[in-house]
């Protein structure tokens, strides 16, 4: 491990990584967020991985069973009307305490936090979203990385979900709709949000890669990596397994290792 770090030379491994993973639905946000979280943890970081999507996905890619558990009711309380959704984290509950209490253990010692299942007719608005975001913004203990998997599309960018992060990764797969989502997300982040970078995913051909490079150039955003299409990752998704366990040496995971180091 130490040798590895020496070889990485100029990279600063003491720097914190606060990462918002964004993009169109199905582009591969969860696989990328989960794998980066676990790779950073394997490098000796403490990692908090947060699923900011009410449609569960991050747990599967981290390699833990999906559950409906999120923050319990007593972690939130009604908030003044100027707070969106009308609820906030319970006063007196620190982000560190919330993480200690309400996260689950995922492989490689990653701590996992999610909104929980709010997909019920009687659940009304997403009461837990504001509280989870408050935890994300406030949780900054030394030695910890934070990776959040954001809900698909440009809405979360618009609502400021990435404001906890110091970098946003916009995941793009080779489709016109995915590129359109990236454009919309990038334009909102450009006005108000952390610096963004593009990651190409499920890249099958040289034309796919060129199209994603051109998208990055036209948006003025760096392209951090190009993850090839990997049938083994797709199979892991079918089986509901973490790709890092199902196909640790495949081309998909290999390119994510390179990206994790570059971050």
């Amino acid at each position: 491990m130490h040798i590895c770090k020496v070889h990485l030379g100029s990279l600063d491994y003491t720097a914190y990584m606060r990462l918002a993973v964004m993009g169109k639905g199905g582009s591969g946000k969860s696989v990328i967020a989960a794998t980066l979280a676990r790779l950073r943890a394997r490098d000796g970081r403490h990692v908090l991985a947060v699923d900011l999507d009410v449609n569960p996905g991050l747990a599967v890619s981290l390699g833990i069973p999906v559950s409906d558990d999120g923050l319990p009711e007593d972690a939130i309380e009604p908030a003044p009307p100027d707070i969106p959704y009308g609820y906030d984290i319970r006063s007196g509950l620190s982000p560190e305490e919330a993480v200690a209490r309400y996260t689950k253990q995922a492989p490689d010692e990653v701590r996992f936090l999610q909104i929980g299942n709010v997909s019920r007719v009687d659940h009304g608005v997403q009461r837990f979203v504001v509280a989870i975001r408050r935890i994300l913004r406030g949780f900054r203990p030394p030695g910890w990385d934070v990776v959040a998997d954001l809900e698909a599309g440009p809405t979360t960018a618009y609502e400021g979900y990435a404001d906890f992060a110091d970098r946003a990764l916009i995941v793009v797969e080779p489709s016109w709709a995915s590129a359109l989502a990236a454009r919309r997300i990038a334009s909102v982040l450009h006005e108000s949000g952390p610096p963004a970078a593009i990651i190409g995913n499920k890249v099958r051909t040289a034309e796919d890669a060129a199209a994603i490079q051109a998208l990055g150039a036209s948006l003025g955003l760096p392209v951090l990596g190009m993850i090839p299409f990997d049938g083994a990752v797709a199979d892991a998704d079918r089986e509901g397994r973490a790709p890092l366990e199902a196909s640790p040496e495949g081309p998909g995971m290999e390119s994510l290792r390179v990206i994790a180091r570059a971050l």
Partner: protein, 254 residues
């Protein structure tokens, strides 16, 4: 009749919604397609090409006027259709609800969602008219739209476990809403095992298999009409058949 198409992001909702809309239009039905997604791209699959990115959205234009979220109700639905509807190839009229434009600390519920509910509720769909709606990913839009029991819901899933999981949550909401017809599209099926998993996830629902089709992927790369450019592939005929079945066997009115 009203048909809403729901599913996890990336499962193929937009492709399925566009194919159903086009198939019904080809059969002589008057079709209105509503794009309720905050990342609207239904126009792309309907054949409106790159110009889809510039289509005016009801919510965005009305908000420019006075920022009030009940705005859409001040207009008749015919006016909204005329003002904001765009003619897509094949005779489908496309209506786009809204996208994000500027950053805001607020929430979107009061904007896009309220506008969508209002439009969805008021749009007449009797006789030979079909309203085909491409919902935002997940269950949120369904909770907002609150379709009526006689409306049809198409849940699109791909072979991933995550997609099946989101699909089953949507099915649970559909049951709570009392929808009388919910069907499942198992999209991008590559094997019997893929279809078997989808059937096992929805034991009480009719599951239609749509084979994985490289022509659809090709069309998606460049905002081309899937119905046209993937016409001779494996997926489109199966979706046309589904559309015809949905039209021929409509649930009775409550």
């Amino acid at each position: 009749m009203k048909i809403a198409v729901a599913g996890k992001g990336g499962s193929g909702k937009t492709t399925v919604a566009a194919a159903i809309a086009r198939a019904l239009a080809d059969a002589g039905v008057e079709v209105i397609a509503i794009d309720a997604d905050a990342n609207p791209n239904l126009g792309g699959s309907l054949g409106l090409g790159e110009g889809t990115a510039d289509i005016a959205s009801i919510k965005n234009v009305l908000y420019e006027e006075d920022g009030h979220h009940q705005q859409s109700q001040a207009h008749t639905i015919e006016h909204l259709l005329e003002e904001f509807g765009v003619d897509a190839p094949g005779g489908v009229r496309l209506l786009q609800v809204g996208t994000v434009q500027r950053p805001s600390k607020g929430c979107l519920c009061c904007g896009s969602h309220a506008t969508f509910r209002d439009v969805y509720e008021r749009i007449p769909s009797g006789g030979r008219r079909a309203v085909v709606t491409d919902l935002e990913a997940g269950v949120n839009d369904l909770l907002w739209a609150k379709p009526l029991p006689e409306d049809s819901l198409v849940i699109v899933v791909d072979p991933s476990q995550k997609s099946l999981l989101v699909g089953t949550r949507i099915a649970a909401v559909a049951r709570e809403l009392g929808l009388r017809r919910t069907v499942v599209v198992a999209n991008r099926v590559e094997s019997d095992a893929d279809l078997a998993r989808a059937k096992a996830a929805f034991p009480d629902l009719q599951v239609t298999a749509i084979p994985d089709d490289p022509l659809v992927r090709e069309a998606d790369r460049a905002a081309r009409s899937t119905a046209v450019s993937a016409e001779h592939g494996a997926a489109m005929p199966a979706l046309r058949e589904l559309a015809q079945r949905l039209w021929a066997e409509q649930p009775a009115l409550a």
